[in-house]
Amino acid sequence: MSRGNLLISAILWLVVALFVIYPLSFLIIESFKIAGTDQYGLKNYIDFFKDSYYLKTFANTLLLAVLVLITTTLIGLPLAYILARYRLKGKVLFTALILLPIVLPAYAGAFALIVFFGKMGTVNLLLMDWGLISKPINFVFGLHGLVFIQSLHLLPFIVLSLSAGFTNIDPSLEEAAEVEGAGGFKRFLTVTLPLTSPNYLAGAVIVFLWPFTDWLTPLIFGQVDFLPSISYINISYHFTDMHRKYMGIVSVVVSSIICVGIFLASKTWVERKKYTALSKGTTLEGRIIEPGILTKASAYAYMFFIAILVLLIPVVMGLSAFSRRWVLQPFPSYWTLDNFRLIFLETPVLLKNSFLFSGVALIFGVAFGLPAAYLITRTKVPGKDTLDFVITLMLAFPGIAVGVSYLLAFWEGIPLATHWIIMPLSLFVRRLPYFLRMAHASYLQLDVSLEEASEVSGASKMKTFFNISLPLLLKGVFVGLVMFFIMAFQEISTAIFLYRGGWETLPIGIYLNWHRGMEFGIAGAMAFLMIVIIFILLLIVARIGGGILGAAWGSSGGRY
């Protein structure tokens, strides 16, 4: 064990302690504080669980999570099967389209849906114009709308994990069932489906936990009675009301505990269940079926349907971005570039901030992620597994927990919150595992003997890293970089608690403009701009990372 490795380990632990463990423990301690006193106790938690309102909120969130999981599973299962198993033209394109919501901000989808399906939205207005209905139908406001938009947003996670499962099954396992006398559907039920269950669970956890972390979408749909939303409202708007503030903090902690608990439970289960591949000779693409004409037609129809729903988001955002006064009309009629003029000329600071904060967060991410990946894959430094565990845990922590804990922890004592560096810092911590996981995965694929050969030839460890490892890791690292940037770029749940005047980012701008109600066009233009920027970045990843699917996979590990 070299001293260099120990030093790296010490520095990484210091960063984790200061920016992860310290604020999060601060949050937990704060949740035990009894308002108005210097004492600590369980009072807040007792109040929380005794209050029928908060219990209802809790139950609502749980219900939403269950409904979203059921919906995504029912829609995603056939879709994943189609994408994984059928030989179809244009599959890559459809895959890319269907996976698009992974990188689109959830709030953009919610806006688009309201504009299109809302009470005075395109669909209702058209139906009324044609005389099919006399009163607008409530398509989206309420639980059903929330289930719909969150399902659309989370569908890719289920599809990705299931289709990976379908692809990875050794074809001979299904052939054996076939030979044993099990025809089509029977075989699917008894062999295929059980074998994909570990993959499914990995995706299902992400889907199930989302309603415990997404505070904004319910608010956009006029709903507050969900755990994350009520936390946000309590903490941001009622910080003078001590009771509500502490109820907010308790909800954040309760959400976090649920998220981390379910995350850990599923992780354990998956690791125990993971069916080790026995075979050596499986084909890369798994079992591909040539579909019959009828199957083919229905598969295309199904993919089209989902793709259109997904495409609705950028299209509607685009329409509102290039128009003004799109009210009570099925489609906008006044076209203008005014919105963009406003963004670029009058408030360029939003764009600047977005790039600056995401960029700085990215630098932090690389400076932390590369050495961490090296440490975890290539050394035997004591405590490295714990370090890995703590970092991975950040996948499960709701963004709101990071935001609130930063607000609490870095206000007094370490007064970082008064400097803009807190913004990129919180983004970095929030997305801590992303870059690390990419670098980690690339490191695992890099044969150690390539590095050993360099050392035997006389290069130092440092020289070996820069001359051999880094160039070979570059592709994976680059994909990790871009995905990290995309995620940081659209981040709102952490930043919303920490921003001050002049630190607004594009997502915050979207939120504020929507919140003021009147400036929907600007919010739409900003969302559209973000979609365009993200799309360009994705194209770069897809070119370099080999396949859009692969690019999307980089982010599929979890996003809250």
Binding site: V179, L195, S279
Partner: protein, 360 residues
Amino acid sequence: MAFIKIEKLLKKFGTMVAVNHIDLEIEKGEMLTLLGPSGCGKTTTLRCIAGLEKPDEGDILIDGRPMFSKGFVPPSQREIGMVFQNYAVWPHLRVFHNIAYGLKLQKLSKHVIKEKVTEALDSVGLTGLGRRYPGQLSGGQQQRVALARALVRNPKVLLLDEPLSNLDAKLREKMRFEIKSLVRRMHMTAVYVTHDQAEAMVISDRIAVMETGNIVQVDVPEEIYKKPANRFVADFIGTTNFIPGEISEAPRDRDLIHVKTEFGQKISCRVFDSAAAVVNQKVHVSIRPEDIEVFTKSPEGRDNLFKGTIQHRAYLGNFLYFFVNVDSTMIRVQVAYDVRQKEGEELFLYLNPEKCIALT
């Protein structure tokens, strides 16, 4: 009529012809091996019999029932058992349920299933391991589960696709005999695919040697070894020497012909393909290393006697290989382990004409 009948079977993958119009008949209760190097079409042929691949042309009949050409019977209805190269034991099912899978589909009673599975477990030597998950078994044990699963329904045909290739050498050898005796005991008709010629020799009643999508020879193991149909078979089965030359004399009334070798000497040898026994025909004379006798002094009155120098001497424990240089042609000779000659010494090789075969 043969139990399995394959006629003019053609299977293409894109433009690549994997199986090229082959004919094959397999008798009831016979164990036939499809043998050949990788890419020769043996596994594709097996998968066509199983119904896991749909042929492009040809007929397949099992027990008189058409499987292909007149319609296509899916694998689930062919009443076959199959052992896969990677065992394909379902990791999410206990051993018992792996084996019971096909029985349950036949809607047999619980009691009967239990009895049959227990019996199958006993027959492959896995008594009492029914409650284990496959992940808790060794590779060899998983392989036995696969075998039990394939046999438990008493299928019409047992198909084995390189079932031993993932096992270590010692276990592989042991399992060869176990599979053979089990299949024989059950009077099972079996088709076995392997690229290991030693395995094929041990396990088969007959061997069909395949090369680039064609069957080049079908016969019992001894005949394949002794009378290979062409150079490919002679080379693939066992070890042999090839001496290139040209037929100089081919008398019709005699068994033996004469070949003029490249190093200018004459070899008397046999030829099985009379069409090839034409003067000036280019041939390779094949002789196995163990069929060559060595002498330190030239024995009197023998043909096919060649003088050479020992170039290398390789000790393999139970015997020795001499690589003997005869006028720049290297000939491998197998001799007893206690032969004393050293590298560089001279020897006389006697190539028994009865054992020399001219191949085109």
